[in-house]
Symmetry: C2
Subunit: 607 residues, 2 copies
Amino acid sequence: MSTIGVVEPQDMRLELPPGGLKLEKGGFLPEVVVRYEMIGTPEPEGRNVVFICHALTGDAHVAGWRPGERPGQDRPSGWWEGMIGPLSGIDTDHFCVMCANILGGCSGTTGPASRNPETGKPYGSAFPEITMGDIVAVHRALLRQLGFTRIAAVVGGSFGGMQALEWAIRHPEDMDKCALVAAAASLNAQALAFDIVARHAIIQDPNWRQGDYYGGAHPIAGLANARRLAHITYLSQRSMEDRFGREKREAWLHGGKEFHRQVRRDFKTYFEIESYLEYQGQKFVQRFDANSYLHITRALDAYDPEEAFGSLEAAVRQIQCKVLMVSLSGDWLFTRAQATRFVQACLSEGKSISYCHLHAPAGHDAFLTHFEELKPVMRAFLTATDAQDPATLNTAEAEGLEAFARTIPEGARVLDIGCGDGTLLKQVALSQRAWCIGMEKELPKVVEALHAGINVLMADIDTDLAYVPSHVFDVAIISHTIQVLNHPDRMMQQLLRVADWALVAFPNFGYLGMRLSLLFSGRMPRTKKFPYDWYDTPNIHNCTLKDFYDFCKRFGMKAKLLRRRSASLFGRLLCLLGFANLGADGVILRLERDSARPTAEPHDDGR
Amino acid sequence: MSTIGVVEPQDMRLELPPGGLKLEKGGFLPEVVVRYEMIGTPEPEGRNVVFICHALTGDAHVAGWRPGERPGQDRPSGWWEGMIGPLSGIDTDHFCVMCANILGGCSGTTGPASRNPETGKPYGSAFPEITMGDIVAVHRALLRQLGFTRIAAVVGGSFGGMQALEWAIRHPEDMDKCALVAAAASLNAQALAFDIVARHAIIQDPNWRQGDYYGGAHPIAGLANARRLAHITYLSQRSMEDRFGREKREAWLHGGKEFHRQVRRDFKTYFEIESYLEYQGQKFVQRFDANSYLHITRALDAYDPEEAFGSLEAAVRQIQCKVLMVSLSGDWLFTRAQATRFVQACLSEGKSISYCHLHAPAGHDAFLTHFEELKPVMRAFLTATDAQDPATLNTAEAEGLEAFARTIPEGARVLDIGCGDGTLLKQVALSQRAWCIGMEKELPKVVEALHAGINVLMADIDTDLAYVPSHVFDVAIISHTIQVLNHPDRMMQQLLRVADWALVAFPNFGYLGMRLSLLFSGRMPRTKKFPYDWYDTPNIHNCTLKDFYDFCKRFGMKAKLLRRRSASLFGRLLCLLGFANLGADGVILRLERDSARPTAEPHDDGR
């Protein structure tokens, strides 16, 4: 239950230059009022402020109760209630949380239904075309008027994430951090297509009258149908199937003959999903204005920093703050491919980028409803310590790692594949002042790494190196990971594509203990380094040190043995005598391209 | 280029009982005319006839030229041109191909725009509610009137596939084979939702007038928007992105200021995807009737044999013919999950079911445009020989297999996992009169098996056993497959879930040659049975015979060694002396549940 209490909305009239606010597309607004809400007390310059950008049809009421609602009796009515509060994703003990209704909206900030001071009537068709940049400019002007010049973070989901991105690109000095959830740099063609059909539904409504319907009937039939369509895109196919399937609506099951006849005459169906969509449509037209919907979705569709800067790389080059991108597994409106494309551009430009792909089968809307994974991720990102702050280093572990870290040149660009909680990278960042990116599969470790201030990409190592741009790293570290890969050959090629050289560690299947174990037991060997049952082992592509050397030769790489380890005294003796493949149970090598050798192509037959 | 020539459409007035055609929902049609086309010459009783059921907005013109078109100059105008012809998917050298426009449509067969003999005017709102069953009944009446009582096959894609299914369920004696492409037993919730929004778009158009618009303006704005929406669902997200992305439309790039102003005023965008959707909408309203769209989509939405029979199993229980289900990889309107659910029901009922999941990134519409994989699959299915016809058996191979086949009881229900081209199953079907189903991953082999008359499921062995119902087989055969699985433990449990016992063959890693190879070479062993490089081997979970026995004990199974093989004389000697784990390089075992032992749960930690 929220401890935030009642949050009073506040209206701020922007101080505008003579002539009013000039918009990006050339229009003017003589006056702009912004409605916003604030939870907590801002510090000077707004350094503890987290500004939340709301999604398409949201408003400023992000958490707590509205005036008139009864705390403790009514449920709190904020749209991101589950993410905001003490110790929550956005921790109100740490931060002052702000949200404001967007320009062009219909929840308090100036929009098409607002009174046009030049005519004294609602703008209607006279409301000028707005852009993502205009929406951000208005929020920024609000912050400036409040005296906030450098805030802690800008956070947004969906359309809000795109506002946050535009902000970080256009005004990079405004914030320390920026988090984008279920968002992308621009809409894909399918998402555009849905918006196009939705706008057609509105403008085909005879009540729309080119936007000048205020005072008469509103185009609610068209707006409701637009909303129904949008709602389909907010849920995953799976969650719609689970929630509704082909269930029949109550009213049909218990309705009389006349009701049945009416449903048939109007070509409606007896399905619960139709009842749900109609409810969503009806609820929506009571709170939203059709012209706002047209204006905002157009600004959303047109937003394209790639077009504005010539490339996505050039756009994200502007960013100075730390960035977190979050995509959701069930989201088909803003896809993982779009998120990783953004991450790719950030890596190209050497930015502080972190990325998580969260389990959210419900679909796009899960960013408003499912916080189990989003909350710890957001919390870790926003409250993270500085990666180069020695106070946060685990000193006991650090000692062992320091020697290892020193093998990496100062100021290097380092990728740690399978970075775990980021302990090694933290050491590297600290002692070598390196630009470090970790890749890690398991979310709890990703969260720990985020919290330690490490830039971390939640990634499936087998497939996700593919989106990392070429030559953006000096060194790639890959420890005890080769043998669990589906395609070690492709991976090694990828490694030396993204980095100049690699540090590779793996367990040696050629170790004498392994050989003797198979010979005498007649079973697949099980040792300290290979502790798994044959049917359940992640180690699916084992190799010996000798195999690895052959492999390097074949694929035009050279490997230099840096370290041999052995659990047994006899093994260490064999190593000393030069029989590393017999004596070592684990090895570390430095791997690089062998320019003297031609490169064989790795197999790619889909196995 | 089509060799079919001009195909004349023909109209048949159905001979109806007094009072007319009684419809499933209670309505009557006093007269019904069906427009159909026929390619080739039907044999008596129609035994060479393949009847094609067209999709939602298709018509009877399935291939060749329409009267008035110029063969050789115009492109042939049939909607399934690429699937029909000599040696094509539906081979006109073998079959007489028929297609008829559906009841409720607007391309020649009686529909809402047809003249109502009772009033002399178009039906409009007086057209009665129709169902999938009515549509099939009309086509069936057409065939009966032509003297066709048992045809070769009914084939359909999308909505046409659902007609074919309804036909096979309701009139199982009418056909030898039935092929469903990009179809399902019923629409899922998301597909229903899209249809609901589309129908809203039509009935909200003020020109619709409850359906009585003939003679006045038609509701083309609503119909066009419905079509735009449907078109989004026909393409995959990926193909829409590849084809359109965020490309700008030509007209915008070269249009003048007034055009730009107009686009902005109407809240249109400058994207090519909008231009494409508008074109699709405009083209559609010229050829299609809004009332037909309402009636047909409602029949589509309501179709649900699961509801009609109490369960999908009870519905498919009616089917007597051989069935082929084809799903498409990029199809999100009719999904793979829906297709496999149907296959599951057919397996439960012991039907002759085959299933292919084809690579078709374009999306649902690929069944109309991409024939590379669909054509050989359809051809193999339709022209297949009888599995129990000995004339088609490869006798050279058969001799070796016959002994093996005899280990399987007569009349057994047999699943062959990794069945290849079906040679073994063909032998089993022939000599043991068994009900045989093969599973195979590679399409060319699937096609060969289909052509040999084998029921085959194209499947990824690692995951797809999951949809096979429990206890539907007596015997499961799995040969040289365990070690390539990601989860051999789960797979063995699945095997003994779907079958009473299993025949298991695998290469033995404990073979002396393997042991000595690792010991002395210091490399991962490479032998005749293990010919791959360590980094590129499909054999990722190797085991020894001893390991396998331990494994069986642990998971409550018992294994009986049926055969040991060895490449070497010494190995065969060791086998004779009882040292199978040392001497055999390959083994065959009979595996079954050990009722005396408790079953350990296989690991399921996502590795």
